[in-house]
């Protein structure tokens, strides 16, 4: 499955905008494990995912071409 990964804030310093081709990942929980293995800094941080601009509260299935945003805690205002 092909996914587009975008990242923000502190996370954008070590995960850049990229297209990834991954197998054995069909949902967001699996994607999190994949990301935390590939980018160990992420495992120690609080972050949220958004899939196609919807913030994910619980595990959700992924499909080809989804855009996944990795977001640290917000600090606007």
């Amino acid at each position: 499955m092909k996914l587009e990964i975008i990242s923000f804030g502190k996370i954008s310093e070590f995960i850049h905008h990229q297209q990834v081709e991954i197998s054995n990942v069909t949902n967001t929980d699996q994607l999190k494990s994949y990301l935390e293995t590939s980018f160990p800094e992420l495992a120690d941080m609080k972050y949220k995912l958004a899939v196609n601009q919807n913030i994910i509260q619980s595990n959700q299935s992924l499909k080809n071409q989804d855009v996944v945003a990795i977001m640290p805690p917000f600090s606007g205002g």
């Binding site: 923000f8 804030g9 954008s12 958004a50 945003a69 600090s75 606007g76 205002g77």
Partner: protein, 147 residues
Amino acid sequence: MSEKKIKNIFVNGAISPSFIAESISRHATKTAIGGHSIFMGQIRRDEVNGKFVAAIDYTAYEELALTKMNEIREEIFMKYPLNCMHVYHSLGSINAGEICLFVFTSSAHRKPAIEACNELVERIKAELPIWGKEIFEDDTHQWKENI
């Protein structure tokens, strides 16, 4: 819910006092309004381990932030009898002493404007995907965290 076009809240750079004055003066023809409430966020020259914050560089997941802000706007309009609501947030580098957030609500009587303004500020900080990078005077940085 609404068919209205999604409003942009983002401005590049600081929000100037003259921009705020123009926004206020546009309400002089809205003679059903009796009270306006404004909140402004200003960049603090905080000291962290002997270094001072010179600026905050703001970035956002803009599309998601605007969609979310639209939801918040509609919920606040449902909850309070407001005549007007305006929200502006800076992107890019904003220097210490400059204004980065401007929230402006108006109602016939004061309470809805005041309560809506407070609730908007809380929700903007908690729910909008915006990030602030504190730039120190020596060009090092750290990422801000809302507490």
